[in-house]
């Protein structure tokens, strides 16, 4: 029978590094059941029968955040054989606060004391033996970064697990202990004996997620005990326990010889003084962002992506496959499927990869060195007005290059609601593939007017801001506001191995999950635009896609472009947005067009009025992004939220385009007041209502409490 060791600790304490050091390549990454919190486990190096279970990084075991609930549910119900609690020695008190909670779970606990080198560099010291004595559990000094003593700490946990000696919980003040003891007697018999303390404390805290089948009398008795302590201390029970825990943590830290840090400027403080300086903060931020963008989107990343697209999937693989297919004398349709469908589809996915690897490398570096938290610190004020997080800036900036890495960059936002909102709105920003569409419309119908391009970005930013405000008031997003209580970790130079590993994990995740979806979707579109309903290979304007375009065209008539070719072009934009230009070219009878479609400008002028063309442009900017981006959304949010995101984007695009066309046509005199105008007015009124209505009150009492305070 194998053994399970749970790895628990604060965020930023080196837990991931320790986990990697302990398990090497034998990791299994999944999700915790029902939630999108990542779950990692792996075998202990050299000890195949010991499984290390990585728990989310948490500060506490409160019932309020997803990560904390996942952690405590696992520890209470699954009961690993021991807990290996990793502690950041340079931040002893706050880390010990979690330890005091872990020790109540009736499980053996071993402490891995990390980052002692930082403490020594700051001129401090910690007696790990004294700490071990005060806590009554083994303490092992480790260096996760250098891999020192890591396996030894795990083996210590294995020994503790074999001994089955549960950690002895820390004791609080006399009055609290008295109440806990009384509650404990009420609880006993309703839970495992080893969980008695845990449940007593949770009931004392009036923990909303703790339910025991107690009778009304027992409940009243417990309530009376809580009340007595509350009245004596003039505070609520939850705060009383939290206070008591921190008192313990401070005492333990004192016993270990670690006093509160004196106000001495460390190197990290000096960096921070400059980087988040009142005047220099933003220029430095702009510089860093420019560098990230420059490396991943403008230069290194794009050079490699272009190489993959143009050389690898342009000159090397297709001719090779073509030659191979020719030698095998395969039928024409199979050639088409393999070359235009599969090879082109896989190419379109892999083409993004180099760009993303460079981007992920930059992001991993920013995250690991501690600058990411400062970005949120700088930008929070702007973004939280729109229901977004300070960290939403990065996905949006990256999104101007390509939506796929932009969406993937949202990973760095911890709060789930902020992350969802960011993913849904990021693709509103015109990405580089939308530029040809803008160039086409600007050139063909507005005489290359200078304002068309900037206006596209303006529409994108406006869509993000309005969506943020509207969505945060909907039922999907309303609820308790996420507090922005964020640790600003000390700056440190990240390890190359850690950064590379970080980058690699994300890249693999993208290839695996997004790859399959994009691949299938691209193949489907290829099929639709190559065959007719009798499954004969035909030109695009006789294909199934053309038929679908014909059916869909009337839907777009109120938007001013009921021509079936425009509808087909918009659909083909799902493969890649620049396809809109190419498809229009093909449908207007040109085999090949330049990137801005200069050949079809004349025809465009006959099919579109300027207002209709602008409506077409806005629709293509705002509607569902390309399949690659949708695949990335699915990877980040899961199936249900992908539907919500795409549905919202298409709906918004339709509404905005309709209003633009109807009002525009009315103002330019191209159309008179009619049903369309009325519909547009109604949409506008509803839109303004959604935008300016007051924030609905969430059902829970929590927000009221915050306001009252």
């Amino acid at each position: 029978m194998g053994m399970k060791i749970a790895l628990a600790g604060n965020p930023n304490c080196g837990k991931t590094t320790l986990f990697n050091a302990l398990t090497g390549a034998s990791q299994h990454v999944g999700n915790w059941p029902g939630v999108t919190v990542e779950k990692k486990e792996g075998k202990l190096r050299g000890h195949g029968d010991v499984i290390i279970q990585d728990l989310p990084g948490v500060y506490s075991l409160s019932p309020y955040t997803l990560e904390e609930v996942v952690t405590r549910d696992y520890l209470v119900t699954e009961q690993p054989d021991a807990i290996l609690n990793i502690i950041d020695a340079s931040n002893l008190e706050r880390n010990l606060y979690l330890t005091t909670q872990l020790m109540e779970l009736g499980l053996p606990v071993v402490i891995a004391l990390n980052m002692m080198d930082v403490v020594r560099r700051q001129g401090g010291s910690i007696q790990s033996s004294a700490l071990s004595q005060a806590l009554g559990v083994p303490v092992v000094e480790i260096s996760a970064l250098k891999g020192e003593n890591c396996v030894e700490a795990a083996l210590e946990a294995v020994r503790a697990a074999k001994s089955r000696q549960a950690a002895k919980p820390v004791t609080f003040g006399e009055d609290i202990e008295h109440a806990l003891e009384q509650i404990g007697t009420q609880v006993s018999g309703h839970c495992q004996p080893s969980h008695n303390r845990w449940y007593a404390v949770k009931l004392f805290e009036r923990d909303a997620r703790t339910e025991l089948p107690l009778g009304q009398m027992a409940k009243d008795t417990i309530e009376a005990y809580i009340k007595t302590v509350e009245d004596a201390q003039d505070d609520d029970a939850e705060s009383i326990i939290t206070n008591a825990r921190y008192e313990c943590a401070a005492k333990l830290a004192h016993a270990a010889g670690r006093e509160g840090k004196v106000h001495k400027l460390t190197g990290s403080d000096k960096i921070d003084q400059i980087v988040t300086n009142r005047w220099l903060g933003f220029p430095i931020f702009v510089g860093v962002m420019f560098l990230v963008y420059y490396l991943s989107i403008s230069t290194v990343g794009t050079m490699m992506t272009d190489w993959v697209n143009d050389v690898l999937f342009g000159e090397i693989i297709p001719p090779a496959v073509e030659g191979w297919l020719a030698s095998a004398a395969t039928p024409e349709w199979l050639n088409g499927l393999v070359l235009d469908g599969i090879v082109a589809g896989v190419g379109s996915v892999l083409g993004f990869l180099p760009q993303m690897m460079v981007l992920f490398l930059c992001l991993a570096f920013l995250e690991d060195c501690g600058y990411m938290a400062r970005i949120a610190f700088l930008m929070d004020r702007i973004f939280r007005r729109f229901g977004l997080s300070g960290k939403s800036f990065i996905p949006m900036l990256i999104g101007t290059g390509c939506g796929v890495p932009g969406i993937m960059a949202s990973r760095t936002i911890e709060n789930q609601r902020d992350r969802r909102m960011t993913v849904i709105t990021t693709t509103f920003i015109p990405c580089s593939a939308k530029l040809p569409v803008i160039a086409l419309i600007a050139g063909a119908l507005f005489g290359g007017a200078w304002w068309v391009g900037p206006s596209a970005y303006f529409v994108g930013v406006a869509a993000i801001i309005c969506s943020g405000i509207i969505l945060k008031k909907t039922r999907l997003f309303v609820g308790d506001p996420a507090p922005f209580v964020m640790e600003l970790p000390a700056y440190h130079w990240p390890s190359l191995k850690g950064v590379l590993r970080h980058m690699w994990e994300r890249a693999v995740a993208f290839i695996k999950k997004a790859g399959t979806v994009i691949f299938l979707a691209v193949t489907l579109i290829w099929f639709l635009q190559t065959f007719n309903f009798r499954l004969e290979m035909v030109e695009q304007n006789e294909s199934i896609l053309a038929s679908i375009g014909n059916v869909l065209a009337p839907i777009f008539a109120p938007l001013g472009w009921g021509d079936w070719r425009a509808a087909v072009a918009a659909i083909s934009g799902l493969i890649a947005k620049e396809n809109v230009v190419g498809t229009l070219g093909v449908l207007f009878g040109f085999a090949e067009v330049a990137e801005d479609g200069v050949e079809i400008w004349g025809t465009m002028q006959q099919v579109f009025t300027p207002v209709a063309a602008y409506s077409f442009l806005v629709f293509n900017l705002l509607c569902a992004p390309c399949f690659a981006a949708i695949g990335a959304v699915r990877r980040e949010l899961g199936g249900k939220w992908t539907l919500i995101a795409v549905g919202y984007q298409c709906l918004l695009a339709y509404m905005v385009s309709l209003c633009i066309y109807q009002f525009g046509a009315l103002l330019t005199g191209a159309a008179s007041f009619g049903v369309g105008t009325v519909v547009a007015i109604i949409i506008l009124v509803v839109f303004l209502y959604l935008l300016f209505r007051p924030q609905p009150k969430p059902e829970s009492k929590l927000r009221r409490a915050a306001v009252k305070a």
């Binding site: 409160s62 931040n91 509160g260 700088l378 640790e487 409490a705 305070a709």
Partner: protein
């Protein structure tokens, strides 16, 4: 009553009481801001919000709206 929101950068105060209840209060307390603890206000973000404080030997960022519920002296 003086709240943490009103404290100027560079000043050190001690926490008297936390008002309110529920997740935000718990979260603030979980991060170590409890009764009697010493808090040093390091700076305010360039746009005037949030604040950066030092508590229990580490750096924490808090929105001013949340700081308003922290009574200090």
């Amino acid at each position: 009553m003086k709240s943490l929101e009103q404290v100027k950068p560079g000043e050190t105060v001690s926490v008297v009481r936390l008002h309110g209840e529920g997740p935000i209060k718990r979260r603030i307390m979980d991060m170590g801001i409890t009764k009697g603890v010493t808090v040093f206000v390091r700076k305010v973000a360039p746009l005037g919000d949030p604040m950066e404080i030092t508590v229990r030997g580490y750096e924490l960022s808090l929105r001013k709206a949340d700081c308003a519920a922290i009574e200090v002296q």
